[in-house]
Symmetry: D2
């Protein structure tokens, strides 16, 4: 696989050249004040990105999965009940993780292609008169199906039920690419990693906590040490870390946030929408449909495209990789073989997106799908050239 072409996987994303340089650092003493000068802006920046005024941001060396685990083990105790919908591979995995960590998960099975079912979640919450449910888990952007859930509606369901459960949201593939409003939506823990909207290599877990979540930490009895948020908050306060921090990624995170804010967060979101909408128009021009069942569910970071029933979608991905050196993503779990995915988040421009669309077209034609070459490209071009928002991550 050559590194000449962009990748079109839903993370890790393409890394901007400027960020590559920002993380190419010599060793520094992480117990020096220079480290604090790097850490504190990174933490403050996370809060701005997720729109959290109060509360705390936390980072540590792991991945999104580690961030999931840390969030539940810091906020819940063994035997606690959590409520979650399963509607894709990543919501499934979080449920599995909770069970392995000793939590009792009440699962609402939901069709893959739909979002978190606010109504059904609300019903379950209303039925829970004893308030046994301690937390509701929502996957904001289901990377497997390209579906965005309506977190605000889940909050409304919680409020309507008068239920005190914590609201924990997986924003791994949405935060910093799609709007995320922690305060407005009443999210108690927002979870992501460095390698998606922040455009960095994998290796840094990112969690933002509301004051309510921080209070919940005090009563949690789950065993934890490496993932202990109390240790982290205490160390961070004095500019330190409970163990050796991944300095380069933290420097990179601070720089990434400067880039995102240099472009303007709302511009970043608008750019992701525009690029995604081009991919969706290409999909329609090919005569294909998205896995996401309706427009309000469309993800702006990844599109899962349903292939004709007689085609194995995995072959498209393999073929594009082998013949054209371009990485798309396969379908996972229930939609394995049925969809292929185009990731279009992070460091992505219209021009890059067009090369991905053109490649998908060639791959599908090579494999005999009844697609007209140039058709998807033309649909995306028309949208891109007539929409007006910012075309690049930064006018650097």
């Amino acid at each position: 696989m050559s590194s000449q072409n962009p990748v079109f996987i839903p993370g890790p994303t393409n890394i901007p050249d400027e960020l590559r340089r920002a993380i190419d650092l010599p060793t520094m003493d992480h117990r020096s004040s220079a480290f604090a000068d790097m850490l504190h802006p990174a933490l403050a920046g996370i809060k701005r990105v997720v729109k959290l005024r109060d509360g705390e941001a936390i980072i540590f060396p792991a991945t999104g999965t580690g961030a999931w685990e840390a969030a539940v083990t810091n906020l819940l105790s063994p035997g606690d009940t959590v409520l979650a919908a399963r509607h894709g591979m990543f919501s499934h995995r979080w449920i599995d993780l909770c069970r392995r960590q000793g939590f009792n998960v009440e699962v609402i099975e939901t069709e893959w292609g739909l979002g978190a079912p606010a109504e059904a979640l609300g019903a379950a919450l209303s039925a829970d008169k004893a308030h046994k449910i301690r937390a509701v888990l929502v996957t904001h952007n289901e990377t497997a199906t390209g579906v965005r859930s309506d977190v605000a509606s889940v909050r409304k369901a919680l409020d309507a039920a008068g239920h005190p459960a914590l609201l924990l949201v997986d924003g791994v593939s949405s935060i910093a690419s799609m709007d995320f409003r922690m305060d407005e939506w009443g999210v108690d823990a927002a979870i992501t990693g460095s390698q998606k909207g922040f455009m960095l290599p994998a290796g840094l877990s990112i969690v933002a906590l509301s004051r309510k979540a921080i209070a919940a930490m005090a009563t949690s009895t789950s065993p934890r040490c490496f993932f202990d948020f109390k240790d982290m908050l205490k160390s961070n306060a004095s500019g330190g870390f409970p163990y050796t921090p991944p300095v380069s990624l933290i420097a990179g995170l601070a720089h990434s946030i400067r880039m995102l804010e240099g472009e303007g967060l709302e511009n970043v979101f608008a750019r992701h929408y525009r690029i995604a909408e081009g991919v969706r128009r290409a999909t329609r021009a090919w005569g294909l449909a998205l896995c996401a069942k309706s427009p309000e569910l469309y993800s702006d970071t990844v599109s899962a495209i349903v292939v004709p029933a007689n085609v194995d979608s995995t072959r498209i991905v393999t073929h594009a990789a082998e013949k054209y050196q371009v990485a798309f993503s396969v379908g996972l779990g229930e939609v394995a073989g049925k969809v292929f995915r185009i990731g279009h988040l992070g460091s992505m421009s219209d021009v890059m997106a067009l090369s991905g669309i053109a490649t998908a077209e060639m791959a599908m034609v090579d494999l005999g799908l009844p697609i007209e070459l140039g058709s998807g490209v033309a649909a995306a071009q028309e949208f891109y050239r007539t929409s007006t928002s910012n075309r690049q991550t930064r006018a650097a």
Copy 2:
């Protein structure tokens, strides 16, 4: 201008990631044997790339222009006559340089869009019974018009006239991207720089000399010091340099040659042909013509595309840069405003080329040209997907 999108200028080219790393070096002592270990393979590699068995390769810190100047001042003496055709901006500039250096240039004016006129050059050589003409200058690839000249036919003209003039060839935008046969064509000096087929930053002049050229150095009386080939050959022989060498670029050149030979030189040429042919098919699909007058003249490194008479081609370039952050090149000299150029040399893949074609399409439609979106892309896609040569610079 963002660095997210590839550049489509005819050099400096996109730099492969691997070469970026190869030139990111700390300071070394250039008087140590480690430098010789880096220099000698680079020089030997140049000879393989230009297909020169005997003779010498020379490198020094300057550009293609410096290489032109060094070649003529080392091989010719003030007042010497040289014969050259003018058929584009770069052949023009070489003529100008020769005149400013005190040479007498016999110019054969040739239509821009045609190559070096072997017949006319032969006639001039035949007419020169006194052998006043000391050198014939040929621009192998006229970057301004996207025209490849037939060097072999100029050699035949020299031979047919029984003329002893040196044959000096500007291969700045062809060498390492298009086939160049120094021995077979009887070329005495081949000239290029680091920033084209070798995919490096600008800053290194590259010259290859035949034995006949080396002999001519002995009698040249042109004043020279920084550009003196004798000093260089003498220093190089013992692993040194007459002044401080640009170590990183020399290391990069050695690495670049390893990459080119890893892909296979003939595969490199085939890839450039394939990518260029896709651009040409796109051009035809747009209903436009190339500046190059006939297929045997088509350059595989740059295409100069003639726009309709009522359009200023410079606007296409400016518009693409401003709106889409993509760099194409304007027309120069006689073809200013009439052509725009797409560079497609060096580190370039089908997928990258498609993004350039798609962008040119959008820019032309934006400016009102009667182009159908997707039409050029589709023509290129069809060619790319059905041709079979290597799609990347290296399976790294």
Copy 3:
């Protein structure tokens, strides 16, 4: 803090330029076969470095602390008893971690400056007729005191007692810098991170497991998901990872092992000994003593130097950082204020070490310690110039 001077902290170490380049990578698809081609050599290389023929190597995104936690939670069950000596901050922290994870730790308090007490451990094991002790924890190199423990003697104590407990060894600051013989010493889990002997940034946990340890995983009931070795071994077998892997660090680890083996592992160990011995001779020339009580305990990666009773050792570290831009390390825990530490592991040469010794000298003289300038340097110089092993990490 400038990046001009080397750091002299016991990790993260100085990163060789070559490794800096090796980890400066664009995004690749971690589900492609190219990733497997990078992962498998890294895993195989770890086994060679720790001298483990059978068994498995495991890597995941975290730090040494995460590796500790993963080792105990994968091999032990809540309520299990482990035996450990406390003789420094890092042995203390591992004990603390075990307690927080629900294990019962039998602690043998040992003077800071001594190693793991094989005799006392043996006595405890012999007394444990019921074999309640499931694991013995040994800190091979106590980074806080600069003490190397004799792991082989602990193994002998286990064998003498006929005790089946697992032997878990923290080699965070020894592995890849000092000899580590997993098979010969009968170590069941060896634990380290990327940022010490492997000379990389922090962010990668490294664990090597014996077959006995792998068998123990089957019965462990500790809740775990992110740290689950079974998931990792299963994914790794097919070239994958249970979650997004830190690709750059894995590529860097493979490259680091190539560098270490290029130098020769035994040469690496000899170099660390030579450099450390120079620091020790300097210490003696200053009239100071090491925290480590006797020569067989001396660490070759970090020296903890005891300052006169009327001096606060922290001031030396702060002063050197502020005035000379050189990072040493403070004393921790029981030896806070009493020792300062010079790290001399990883990418370190005699010449670099001399600059650290010279700086420590200046700092101590500045603060009024009765040290003769140049005295420590001269002692180290004499040793360095008359010892013959390799002076650099690699003849690159």
Copy 4:
């Protein structure tokens, strides 16, 4: 030669990490306005560094030698007479270059170890009633002997003689490390390169011209094209370049000037003095002398140290490189075998300098010189610790 240790050659210097990153750039379109935005600050910055208010700065891809050649061929005409002193290898080479370029050089032979002889130059100027001498060449810092010439005194000699000759000064190894006052000294052309005080790789010639020099360009008849300043000034004015510019080095130059001005130019000079004085005190402690005959001649960028008559100084350099992987420089020309040189310019700290001094000591002792280990280090340490100026290139 490992890249772990600093180099101690008088250029190319060690490159600060921050500058390494600043020049690690992807390709940009050098005809875009972004290039002008990079070029103009670099040119303006050069003028501040050489303390030139009026006049112009010029940069082009070559080296210091190219800058010499460009300066004389742009300002003088074939057959013109220039006056120069020969007192080291670099003053010798400039004389040689002038002769090869067709100028008549009146040479004042001066002992190696002395500076430009203002009195003798003044006498020659006074004797030149016809004002045949068109330019006086001065080597501000003779890199071969570590001698700084008093440019102001040469200006006084010119003024005293009422002579209109241009004053051309080689500041290759002084500018940006030692004070250079172009306006105050009445210098007409100041010459340097990227790889010395500017701490960049070699490859960029740097020239600053007074208004008088610019006027002289108009009458020069020396053939020139690549080196033509008129072409450059014209192109630069509109943000362009007469040929492909070395974009990365220009970006690096702009960044370097920001670093130098961030530290403060006077602080940079004070730091170079302090580091050099430490080397000189070490030399005295070794019982050795400098090649420079008296203190006012001492260079702050390079020290040439005279070895005992029975020692071949080249062996010290070779031995240090082979055994300790440290690069010093040999003696050149008249002082070959008699001196070795320690370069201490550019990116250099006290701590780095101490490692060089310590290494020189070991190498000399290894070769049997009657030097006491630690003696030179102690002398330098005492000076470094008691002097107070800035110890690093930048508090980055």
